[in-house]
Symmetry: none
Subunit: 190 residues, 4 copies
DNA sequence: GATGAATGAGTGTTCATTCAT
DNA sequence: CATGAATGAACACTCATTCAT
């Protein structure tokens, strides 16, 4: 028998991301993705149960990459502020270097498919960060409020700032990254 | 000459918002919107050039309402912090009382139609707030960074916290609203 | 507004029947029916909810015609045998003159769609015949067995004989019609 | 040379029949049949030229079984009526005990594949019965009409009565089998 | 102004079959 | 012999939009 062509699967994922970047999430049909990947529409259904499966798999895959990247060099022995700053910079750098991936996740997160994924599974990848928040609260370094509120200031502003669909007038330099982190830390620190 | 039936136009807008809330943005076709509004699909094309026009008009309409609500009781003679807190609370209250409108804008903002609107026109409605930031910077009350960065901490976290698609585990009470504003203010204040 | 083009609806029905005769039930797709009717596939969905609706409507329509034809000249004052012979001949004649309609019903009856129709509604059209069987039993003219058994001899053999897919070697003349009825009557008569 | 795996071939046939019973003829795709048989789709194409070949082979196989069963205990020395009654009962019993096989043939007979089989080959299996009819005619026991007409009364009503898709309200007991044969015999006897 | 009819182009998905191993 | 990968063509159905009234 023929063996599964790994490059084919990868080219489908790549085509999916590329096409979403080119024409947007809503317009990215299976047929167009197949064409972009130089593959038959039917082939996609060998690798994925259906369109939903293709998109959610792609999303989870990217989120996994993002969490890996964000947590690179994670050193729990350092001061909490330094750890968060490190993560903050990792995040900016990842988004800067992988705008296509990031754009896809933003599109996905506000699509109907978003409801279908297991948020808990995603959160798991970021668990060390939640734990760090908890530790910060206990050490009276971070404000004692719900972690969703903390997250809204320490994680999400990055996305806004990096998302050039929403924010077009600002160029991200090392200096702006550093200064924007100051705001984030001021927000959550006690 | 007959004049366009204002009530018909309104019922189309209402139907659009309602339907997007019911079945999501992607599934809301012109035919379904027409049915929801008890109107012929063709009628919609009397009031709007095409689907894009209908959706962007609806979006701008809502944004106008939101800015009105946010700026209600705007009193430039008060301390800057108090003004922002007032706006912050207005925003929370608007979203709480108009979840349907808010849900629509969230869906819209991440749709392909989002690219078609004139962001400057929208920003105009919120000009007093940008001016306030500027004033705060000049008075050395607010950090002197790009207003996009300030906005990412003083405006967007509200959306995250109020968006129960992203944030499901937290109930918004007067107390959480107040405490979340503390974070926002700490972020931007000098 | 444009009014519903009655001729369009009729041409869809005609195309459906014609196509089933030409290429068989299983191969008759909506797209092909549309093409045969010189109509867009989408148009069919104006007149019918879906493919099932199109086919079942066509079937019921034909069955109604058949019952009308079979019961033409139904005169309950005549002897029971004469009435059945009259019906038998009507049936043969209908099938002979409307082979296309008959072929469609045969195909339909053995398709998965057959399960979706309300058999009771169909039987209703043929009620006078069931009543006649009952009357014959009471008058000790017809064997007192279940009406399904009687039907298997007085109604179904016609279908077999007229169905030239199953029965290719025999030509139906007035004489064979008459003589075949003799068998049917001998079967059920007491 | 390896020989074809007989058990594999049988499991494909079994799967075909089972699946047709489960989901109907029209929905029974090659891929599904393969899965049901725990075999690759490609394997089916080793044993059969194509789908048509698979289905027609299955059909002919069943018909062969049916004819065997019907002619079991065929004793040409007995009176003609007794022989037919014996065959009639065999038929009922076969169908009762092999509803799956029978259901398949009914589905097949009204499918487009039906046109592809060699009816003469099938008829061959039932030749003794046609000969018997001939003998009956010569002996002036059976009406002298075309054998297709005779068949329509002595063979087909069984199928109608046993087919619980068409005939749902009647339970088949020894008594109803016997009495229904009376009708059949009355139909054809002189 | 207002409408339902009408449509070509598109949707996600499955089909019977062949290919490379 | 046996397989799962691969596919172009087809499937039923919906889309945004225009037409005729």
């Amino acid at each position: 028998m023929r063996i599964k062509d790994k490059s084919k699967e990868e080219s489908v994922i790549a085509a999916t991301i590329k096409l979403v970047n080119k024409i947007g999430f809503a317009s990215s049909s299976v047929a167009k993705i197949a064409k972009e990947a130089n593959v038959s529409p039917a082939t996609i259904y060998i690798y994925y149960k259906n369109k939903e499966d293709l998109l959610t798999s792609t999303y989870i895959d990217i989120k996994k990459q993002l969490s890996n990247y964000m947590l690179t060099g994670f050193d729990s022995s350092k001061p909490i502020r330094d750890i968060f700053e490190h993560v903050w910079q990792n995040t900016f750098r990842f988004i800067a270097n992988n705008k296509e991936l990031f754009y896809f996740t933003e599109q996905f997160a506000n699509s109907p498919y978003s409801d279908k994924i297991d948020k808990a599974e995603i959160d798991m990848y970021f668990e060390p960060l939640f734990n760090l928040l908890q530790k910060g609260i206990e050490q009276k370094i971070i404000k004692n409020v719900h972690y969703e509120i903390l997250g809204a200031f320490i994680f999400y502003p990055v996305l806004i700032l990096a998302n050039n669909r929403l924010c077009k007038t600002i160029k991200l330099t090392d200096k702006t990254i550093k200064s924007s982190f100051t705001l984030a830390w001021d927000a959550i620190k006690l």
